[in-house]
């Protein structure tokens, strides 16, 4: 456990020193601009626009960081051979992987929390005081964070056995396919034979269902997010991430370094 913590803390330090958190400046400018403009161009729906724009930005920026840094977590260490000295210490390979995973998730948590704060500040400028229902924005942000953790796990898995470029492609491909996983289950009567339908249904259950983490519509329109959805998404993310990281650990445990 101590080894995982040490690697995770260093991964977070790396992200901070490599100025990954500078994306927050972009987010802050976006939110400030939106807060100023939205009052002039949208009457009565300022809050919806701010929340929608803010959550989308948190998600998109997070996905970019999770995908690109997730792939770089292991591949950069192998390319630059910084891994050699580390693996010669009493550190198991799976401990290194988990440390890297939690380090990036920690970075994304800080980043997402800072962006959520920015979103609330922008919201406060167009509508104050804030309402109790605005707390549901936090639920949406939490689910985005779960989604990002799952993307990091996938990126880590792919980077353990292929090139960084392909790993990004695979991760992005799985993400896009995962957005439509639920749709694959409900396709009926489009002229497909039963075998194909069964195959599509099987694939839909194998793919990570990223729609489980999307409650933006409900939050933007001021509807609540039931606790059951949050619990279900949390459990789903934990199980899926555990399976993906186990796969990554198995692959990486026998990987020959250059």
């Amino acid at each position: 456990m101590r080894n995982i913590q040490t690697v995770a803390a260093n991964t977070f330090r790396e992200a901070v020193r490599d100025r990954v958190l500078y994306n927050l400046v972009f987010f802050a400018l976006l939110m400030m601009g939106a807060a100023i403009l939205v009052g002039q161009i949208s009457i009565g729906i300022e809050e919806d626009v701010i929340v929608s724009l803010g959550l989308s930005a948190i998600s998109v920026i997070g996905i970019f960081i999770a995908m690109f840094l997730g792939v770089a977590l292991v591949s950069r260490e192998m390319d630059k051979r910084t891994l050699y000295a580390l693996l010669a210490k009493p550190v198991k390979r799976w401990e290194f992987l988990l440390g890297k995973f939690f380090g990036l998730v920690m970075t994304l948590t800080v980043n997402t929390a800072a962006m959520a704060t920015g979103l609330y500040m922008a919201l406060w400028t167009v509508k104050h005081p804030l309402l109790k229902s605005d707390a549901f924005i936090l639920a949406a942000v939490y689910l985005i964070l779960l989604k990002l953790a799952l993307i990091v796990a996938l990126a880590l898995l792919f980077s353990c056995f292929t090139t960084p470029f392909l790993a990004i492609l695979f991760t992005a491909g799985i993400y896009v396919a995962g957005l439509f996983a639920a749709d694959l289950r409900i396709i009926h009567g489009v002229g497909l034979d039963p075998g194909t339908l069964r195959l599509m249904r099987a694939i839909s259950y194998l793919l990570p269902n990223f729609q489980n983490f999307n409650v933006m519509g409900a939050v933007v329109h001021g509807r609540g997010v039931p606790a059951a959805i949050i619990w279900h998404a949390t459990l789903y993310a934990i199980v899926y991430i555990a399976i993906v990281l186990t796969g990554a650990a198995v692959v990486f445990s026998r990987r020959n370094l250059k």
Partner: protein
């Protein structure tokens, strides 16, 4: 000692435990379309490094030195064979607590300072915060980086990174130290400091295995050396044993001023200014000295001509190349 004899000795279970024991270790890399072809990087390596000795692993570039070391450190996995360090299988990662490793051309997190990177590595050895602080400071001083400890590694030269690498390898006072090309990238002063550190480790009873292609370093430091060429161990033993210490002749260095007359020795001599150097069989030495004395020559030195480790090494490399060429010509 010939390699086959070494293998027999290793199989004898009555032998006390060596610090590093390697048995029939081989590594093949797949290549080509679908990875169907195999390239042998290391073939059936069997050797043993005794506790407390400094062992030099010699070989030209691409001979299999780094492959062997990476196999020992579990950075790559063998196609066949086994190895043990301090009696434990190399698959046992806990054993890494007793091993120090300097990778070839080490590279560390460039966003960290030397102090931070050493502190980071020290954490994996379970040292307390106070112990870490003391050890890190001592190591920085030992490798001469005390004044540069707060500079990020991205601003370090190759030689400075090599020093950081050495410091992290011996930070936790390991029993066995494995150094892959430790002199690489260092200036003469740095090389001397590394030599001193290796000798200090030996004095403290540590086992040191280091790879190098700088033969003078090996001759100076090693109790024994192993020579690897083309992925195969070609010789193992003390440097003196390997090169056969019997003198191959004598060399006389002398000065001759004025007319040398018709001194027959001068026909074989090489002249540099007023100085002459001549090599001759040991049996002819005293007759030659008498002749030089008669010619009023000033004798500067008389030395034995011994084969060097370098000559032995070059002989092995050339033999290997000749064999490879023969195989290519015959189309096998």
């Amino acid at each position: 000692m010939p390699v086959d004899d070494a293998r027999q000795v290793l199989k004898n279970n009555c032998m006390p435990q060596g610090a590093i024991e390697i048995e029939n270790l081989s590594k093949e890399y797949p290549y080509g379309f679908l990875h169907l072809k195999k390239r042998k990087s290391l073939e059936d390596l069997t050797m043993r490094v005794e506790a407390g000795e400094v062992f030099g692993f010699l070989g030209p570039n691409g001979a299999g030195k780094s492959t062997t070391i990476k196999l020992l450190m579990r950075l790559i996995f063998p196609t066949a064979g086994t190895a043990r360090i301090l009696g434990k299988s190399i698959d046992d990662v806990s054993m890494h607590g007793s091993i120090g490793y300097l990778p070839e051309q080490p590279y560390f997190y460039e966003y960290l300072t030397a102090h931070e990177v050493l502190d980071y590595f020290a954490k994996f050895h379970g040292l307390t915060a106070n112990d870490r602080k003391a050890r890190v400071q001592a190591m920085l001083k030992k490798v001469g980086l005390d004044t540069a400890k707060k500079i990020q590694l991205r601003k370090y030269s190759k030689g400075m990174l090599q020093r950081v690498g050495l410091a992290q390898a011996i930070l936790h006072d390991p029993q066995v130290v494995v150094l892959d090309e430790p002199m690489s990238g260092l200036d003469p002063l740095g090389r001397r400091e590394v030599r001193d550190i290796i000798l200090e480790l030996k004095r403290d009873g540590r086992t040191v295995l280091f790879s190098t292609h700088v033969l003078s370093d090996a001759e100076m430091l090693c109790d024994r050396v192993g020579v690897i060429v083309g992925g195969k161990l070609r010789g193992i033993g003390a440097p003196g044993e390997l090169v056969d210490m019997k003198a191959q002749g004598m060399e006389i260095l002398f000065e001759l001023s004025g007319a040398a007359g018709n001194l027959p020795l001068l026909e074989k001599a090489t002249r540099t200014g007023e100085r002459y150097r001549v090599q001759l069989p040991e049996a002819e030495l005293y007759a030659a000295l008498d002749a030089l004395k008669a010619a009023n020559a000033r004798i500067l030195s008389v030395t034995q001509i011994k084969p060097t480790l370098e000559e032995y090494f070059m002989h092995l490399v050339e033999t290997d190349r000749a064999q490879v060429s023969a195989v290519e010509v015959s189309g096998k």
